[in-house]
Symmetry: C2
Subunit: 378 residues, 2 copies
């Protein structure tokens, strides 16, 4: 069965438009997925996420495994039912969080023992248990357990982690094929290899050979410079099969979405828009701005004049600035809604431009405006 339909390829770049046909509906690509770590998009309700128009969101296996845990998820026959979200869910493998959040971890060929960020208790993830838990979640798209390494790191360590990720992927695939005969819960492979070209090439080649429904690029956007990130994406995407979807994990700034799409990426996720929203930073076509800015004291304008989200249709910058200064939760909600709606619209516009053969023009126009901003946010 073909889960991905490639509708259009740009002649001038590697940008692609497609359709992901998933169990809970078709998702148009390129797509940005909001992150609902523990079973909600932070500071938002599911109604607000539906109103923006998202139909594919991300859940974090690490967090959901620790809390609420498989007993509760099982009781509710899966995550969709538990959180009452009838659209698509992609879950990560928990690998990245094991390496970035847990105080303690011990990795062996078998899997990884780690301490819980919730209560310090010890847990074990293996390629098999991570597939099992994601099948319990009922994820529409699942990720295999991988070993993430920071950038920069020594070549030999990156190589070892990349190889272990490949071995683990084979075990994950085996478990997936045995447990999910219908293959209605898709398994992607994750390409690793740190910042090393030959490791990325090898990983992309070996991962592709496993003939999975899609492929992720992991271990990027972890602090390396942008040139390194983009060149790794180019190397990997030159090897990944064209007819399968490609997911760049953890990337979600507007400029990176455009550069990723130009290099053939179809899917993105990032906590950035909601975290920035809770900190008072919002997207505009001229770059990110901070709602704390004194110049908005009397502003009668919405966060973004071109946006038709609930926050922009109804409220001024002056009002939202006031709420943020008064430490009102409502300010976090309104800015989070706007930031997500901004990325949704950006991805819709990117897709239209690809279908209309003018993506590169759209990208250049957007970036020339977006980069005008001199305002420092963080």
């Amino acid at each position: 069965m073909n889960y991905f339909e490639l509708e259009k390829k740009s002649n001038k770049s590697n940008a692609r438009a497609g359709k992901l046909k998933l169990k809970h509906g078709t998702t148009l690509t390129p797509v940005f997925m909001p992150v609902g770590t523990t079973g909600t998009i932070k500071a938002c309700t599911w109604q607000q996420i539906k109103d923006i128009g998202f139909n594919l969101v991300l859940g974090n296996t690490y967090h959901l495994y620790l809390r609420p845990g498989s007993e509760i998820i099982n009781h509710f026959n899966g995550l969709h039912n538990f959180i009452n979200w009838d659209r698509n869910i992609l879950t990560d493998s928990g690998g990245f969080q094991v390496f970035s959040l847990s105080d303690f971890r011990k990795i062996t060929d078998d899997g990884v023992i780690f301490s819980s960020i919730v209560d310090g208790s010890k847990h074990f993830f293996s390629p098999e248990t991570v597939i099992d838990f994601q099948l319990t979640l009922g994820s529409d798209i699942m990720m295999p357990l991988d070993e993430c390494t920071p950038i920069p790191i020594e070549y030999s360590i990156a190589q070892k982690a990349m190889n272990r990720t490949l071995i683990w992927l084979k075990r994950a695939k085996k478990r997936w094929e045995e447990s999910n005969k219908d293959k209605d819960h898709l398994l992607f492979g994750i390409v690793q290899g740190n910042r090393f070209e030959d490791l990325r090439k090898y990983s992309a080649q070996m991962t592709s050979e496993l003939d999975l429904p899609g492929y992720s690029i992991g271990g990027l956007s972890v602090g390396e410079d942008k040139d390194t990130m983009f060149s790794m994406i180019e190397i990997v995407n030159s090897i990944l099969p064209e007819e399968k979807p490609r997911y760049l994990m953890g990337v979600g700034k507007p400029e990176d979405l455009l550069e990723g799409v130009a290099r053939g990426i179809d899917m993105f996720d990032c906590i950035f828009p909601t975290r920035a929203g809770r900190n008072g930073s919002f997207f505009t076509k001229n770059g990110m701005k901070s709602i704390k800015n004194l110049s908005y004291k009397f502003s009668e304008e919405p966060l973004d004049k071109d946006c038709d989200c609930y926050a922009c249709k109804n409220f001024t910058k002056s009002y939202i600035r006031h709420l943020f200064r008064a430490k009102e939760i409502t300010a976090m909600t309104l800015i989070s809604i706007h930031n997500l709606a901004f990325l949704k619209k950006l991805m819709d516009n990117i897709r239209s431009s690809i279908l209309n053969d003018n993506f590169e023009e759209f990208k250049n126009d957007f970036l020339s405006n977006y980069r005008q901003s001199k305002e420092e946010i963080f």
Copy 2:
């Protein structure tokens, strides 16, 4: 002009049903008003408040005066426009907050000097400036500056504060008559007198004689026992004119709403439903419950089976408990929505029962269920 239409009086108690005809629409009474201290109901959007069905909310003069302040409110031609709420707003006078929140205050016959809870700066409220600021806000119903005393306190202090409140009310009325010729921003009088029957009687009598659009009962629900509160309400309401609306300030627990209505109160406000919601406590017909309760771990039921709010129509106690444990803001939003919807429905049912001549039966039924609860919340 008649701002209040008394539709029905119970034969068996002092319960009343009526209509408050305000500048931004008619509000049916008895009514509970959610508190939007700084210009939003905490953790909610205005859309969510509209969806519940409220058309009269409260804003706090003390908070709005300090932040955003009159310059911004003026720029937007009033609070309705600034916060984009096109329904009714009642504002308090700020008096209660001056006495309960400010680190420093000095009261004279002229008014009160107090320190800001925001930045410690010094400010001055007089009966006149408080009317001026509420006219700047464009409040549909305004309160006059009053002097609140804690319970218990000495008779002589309570008497002095009650008398000063009366003198201030006369000044407030004069300013209101001069500044608001159309009288489309209604001014209520506030009855004080602490826990002393003769002071309450005197205050009610003298306040009534000023022939204002409505009357508030202040200085109750500040820690005194319930019998004291109810007997003070009875004394005051036996004197206040029947044809004017009566507002019991700061009261919002279901049992108190019922007892207040039975004693002839038409309007209530309280931060309790939203504060409790942010703390994980929710209303049910069997009393308040805590979402932290282990017994809800696998609960497939909504917070309240009889409630049709967004939270109850869509989510289980198990899910909301999980979100609360994970410290998700969304949990606060969902429980706040439910608590407000619970009180809205309670007031609607109270009103229907008055119109149908069975309020006392409804009240007894509700309280016999509500008081069954043995669960400790706070």
